[in-house]
């Protein structure tokens, strides 16, 4: 508890709190004094010990390692300045991994979120077996990515019995080389990602939709807005923060793709064309297959900066769009009813 000593020094002596103490539920009083004052720290201490050691410290340590020549199973790290970064920015594979992360991210995120929005809209209706449909949404999310990827790998197999090609054959389409083609492989990966996350995002949207007051819809209906216009002018504006939240989550998720390309593409190299080479796979390959931990840490740091930029960009967009504070829902509603009545 020594770490908390400074916090008590600035306060009045123990056991004699000022009479005008702020309302505080875990309050100090003459009798309970010390125990109550320490208690919050005791309660957060185990969390912050573990979180500090295995959550925060590694982040700082990554930065340090990224400036070292540090080999897996090798000797002590040796400071090399920006060398790992100059290597990284001179590496064509790095630019390929950035590009593949972006393209796979786009072709998985955009259709996924649009479908989730539509599904949430449907799930929001009153219906029988509602619980079944909602739980069916999370089944893919509850499945491990390992299992999902292995199943999809057999569905997309190039062998004569590959289910996807057989189905395409029935439609008169020639077999597609799902694993070795540049775009086809990316589409296959995006399919797995979409399957895994669409229902999850639909439930998030559903929760957002249910927090939109019902009378906004009634007012829009009175003003003659049909279902589609209600969706456009009431649902979408009401969901704006939720949509931004899912975009942030999905874009960050896109930089973290590993299991799908690793198992579907059969290894850490990222495929003959580099078609699977996304950032995390590249980091893993450099760090744990090639054994250059310093260089892999540099990739991690660059990815971290990208993630932070994405979060800030999204937060900035969110602020731009909801600049007027106060009672946003009511304002939006008046705007939408005005449009609807025109």
């Amino acid at each position: 508890m020594a770490a908390h000593a400074p916090t008590t020094t600035a306060e009045p002596p123990a056991g004699r709190p000022p009479a005008q103490a702020p309302p505080d539920l875990v309050r100090r009083s003459r009798r309970e004094g010390r125990a109550y004052r320490r208690a919050p720290y005791v309660y957060i201490a185990p969390f912050f010990l573990l979180f500090g050691a295995f959550g925060l410290f590694p982040l700082v340590y990554t930065v340090w390692i990224s400036f070292q020549e540090y080999r897996l199973g090798g000797g002590d790290p040796e400071f090399v300045g920006w060398e790992n970064y100059t290597w990284l920015f001179g590496s064509p594979s790095f630019y390929n991994s950035l590009w593949k992360t972006l393209t796979i991210g786009l072709i998985s995120t955009v259709p996924q979120l649009l479908m989730a929005l539509g599904l949430a809209h449907l799930l929001n209706y009153n219906m029988k077996v509602r619980a079944f449909f909602r739980v069916s949404m999370i089944v893919p999310y509850a499945t491990s990515l390992v299992a999902a990827t292995l199943v999809f790998a057999s569905i997309f197999a190039n062998t004569p019995g590959g289910l996807m090609n057989v189905v395409l054959g029935m439609l008169g389409i020639d077999p597609i080389n799902w694993t070795n083609g540049n775009w086809t492989a990316q589409i296959a990966i995006a399919t797995i990602v979409t399957w895994h996350w669409t229902g999850y995002n639909a439930l998030i949207y559903l929760a957002g939709m249910q927090s939109i007051p019902k009378d906004l819809y009634e007012a829009a209906a009175i003003d003659g807005a049909g279902r589609f216009r209600q969706f456009l002018h009431v649902t979408i504006p009401g969901l704006r923060p939720t949509i931004l939240f899912t975009i942030v989550l999905s874009t960050i998720g896109a930089t973290q793709l590993f299991t799908e390309p690793f198992l579907f593409g059969n290894g850490a190299e990222g495929g003959a064309l580099g078609q699977y080479q996304v950032l995390t796979l590249y980091m893993y390959n450099i760090g744990f297959e090639i054994g250059r931990l310093g260089r892999a840490a540099a990739i991690a740091c660059v990815t971290l900066i990208i993630v932070i930029l994405l979060v800030l960009l999204n937060a900035g967009l969110a602020q731009l769009r909801t600049r007027d504070k106060g009672q946003p829902l009511i304002r939006r509603r008046s705007a939408s009813t005005r449009k609807a009545s025109r």
Binding site: Y43, F57, Y61, S136, L145, G199, T242
Partner: protein
Amino acid sequence: MTSSPDADVRLAAPVEGPAEPRRSRRRADDSAGPLTYVILTITALLFLFPFYYSLVAASHTPSDLYDGTPPLFPGPAIFDNMRLALEQADLVAALGRSLVVSLAVTATTVFFCTLAGFAFAKARFRGRNALFGITVATLTIPPTLSIIPLYVVMTRLGLVNNLMSVILPSAVTAFGVFFMRQFISQALPDELVEAARVDGASLNRTVFSIVFPLARPGMAVLGILSFMAAWNDFLWPFIVVRQSPTIQVAVAGIGAGYTPDISVILAGTVLATVPLLVVTAIFGRQIVGGITAGAIKG
């Protein structure tokens, strides 16, 4: 201000009672049409199909799968393939390890995050906002970015291939604290804590006899989500416990042979997935609640 009359209308609406046309329109708008059922059913089938297909593929011999017409119904070979999967990778031991890891992670996450969540929700102390701010700020930082330093740390601690190396980094999560803080601030009335204090209960007593019972639904959701995450985790266990693999690592390993046998691999995935499907079937509603509760405030 154009918005103020609107606000009045909005507040007044429930009181004055719904007018006739509004009511009928609302009823019509709220109930699902046949098309909704059709689309949702197709979606549910698409979401469930990979399971069905893995069962089908896992119950046939490889030659059945490769002869050009994929089987669409389960065959007789499921137990042979499962036996092969169990032999090729020591899946029983792997399932046991995953159970140990997931239960340990669930227990520590729920207990420590509830304590911290309670402190952040109901106590006032110096550094509270700063500490909570740090916790929330790291919510969006993916743990994957820490695998290199964590591996170095685990090597130094001599924990590589020890299950502790998987448990420790997941023992608490920033999300858990955030989630429990939200839950406790809503579920636990201030007056209750105050009353316990006035009655002379120690804080520990308050926590164990008031906070924990009231926070139980939230703790259950956090527990299920933590269990699922720990059970399904792949990259970090793959790096750090390759010699004593968890179930996901072991299943991924079946496919690494020279002639990967799809039916055996899928028999393995069935074994690895069934426990979680059971959890999902039992706790589906809680999982749905957890996903949505975490998102609303995001």
